[in-house]
Amino acid sequence: MKAGTNLEKILESGQFAVTAEVGPPKGSSPAVIRRRGELVRNSVDAVNVTDNQTAVVRMSSVAGCAILKTLGVDPIMQIVCRDRNRIAIQSDVLGAIALGIGNILCLSGDHQRFGNHPTSKSVFDIDSMQLIQALKNMRDEKQFISGEEVSGEVPIYIGAAANPFADPFEFRVARLAKKVKAGADFIQTQAVYDVDRFRRWMEAVCERGLDKEVHILAGVIPIRSVGMARYMRDYVAGVTIPDEIITRLEQAEKAKEEGVRIPLEIIEQLKEIPGLHGIHIMAVGWEDIVPEVVERAGLLPRPVL
């Protein structure tokens, strides 16, 4: 075991994992994190806490993860390269481990232009690929980026993202291979709405044998309304929603119910895709729907290891 987290145990034992995402509050209340954590705790194996997603200032991921930890939830700390340089990132990693956080997801980060502080200075000292490599080096070689020695163990289960829907499509598998080579243990993908494209990507992934080297969890986003679907299609970087899904929502009697039925159908198809090891439900702001999605997808009860 690299970190011995619940997520690692589930994935390494070959079981189909379920993770969810909790968005921290735009405020200081730990109760918000606790409530959202309580909502999903029995339905998922681990919970991501986003790092100022869409470049909007929120409670830090490390604090959110520490709060989840007190509930017995296995947290996945997210780190983006947008806001912190290598000094701050490595410091946060050490702090996270001291707080018992074992899963870390490495991301580039949404550009600050999308957020609520568009005039801020971006950092991007290192990129997500280099971050994965740096964490692996901290864990396996006990070395900081500088080469100096880290004191104590650095048990981390390293995560990374992949977006099979971005371009150039042919490079998306090569990029995943790079992340695996850099040291990623698990991958959480961008939301899947175009299952055919996702399937083609997974076929290429398996062809290269990458499914044997890394655990891939497919992203799923329940859709709360037609407006949200249109917003995601038009404004959320990296998300692709086929028109037929928008049409289905528009024509549905109860769009909200359809917005759950669509991801459920997608999950059914995803479960059949060879090489896929789990799903990651990103219902930020709609965490209460997660238990229903997991239950109706036939993924309950979650294994206890």
């Binding site: 232009r113 997500s128 150039p168 090569a174």
Partner: protein
Amino acid sequence: MITITEQKPFEEILQSLEKNTAVYIIGCGTCATMLHTGGKSEVLTMKERLEEAGKKVTGWMVIPTACDQLTKAALVESARTIQEADSILVMACAFGVQTVGFYIEMQVYPALNTLFVGKEEGPGHFIDVCMQCGNCVLASTAGICPLVRCAKSLLNGPCGGSVGGKCEVNPDIPCAWQIIYDRLAAQGRLVELDKIEPIRDWGTSASGGPRWFNVVTSDE
């Protein structure tokens, strides 16, 4: 190569000159003239607007290249009318403003914002192609700098926001990594992208502190 400038809002210029009553205006005959931000006609328009705003303009000139050493001679030559003013407004890039400030002990204010040193990509269309980081990566990126042309300065791009060859930040901006990918593909060099680009030394960039350079002559 040309230094890209744009005029500051007039209100901001007036704010700078709030405590000053008499202004001498200096334009630049090179980049700022080409960009219509600090050439003769812009200088004359500025003169008019400042006078309308109640400032006295003691004189003006357009220095051929405000950033070079000849600026010193131009300042000496016009010293009398310059000295009648209590401030100098420079309609040149930041190099020009600082050159004027270097040669004359007076209050010097910029009328322009300096954006970047631009390369003309098409007629009248300039792009930022180099951040002058002191540690060139072009060998591995098909001659396209991702540090300045990728919104996230990725060395191992493209990120998940690259769609249809465009950057997620703005659909008018091409994704630098798509360009790099296409060029490497055309040159049969795609395999080079399998290499993970290592973490950079930013110490040679402005992050490493103020920079200077001494020319070493052959006699030394």
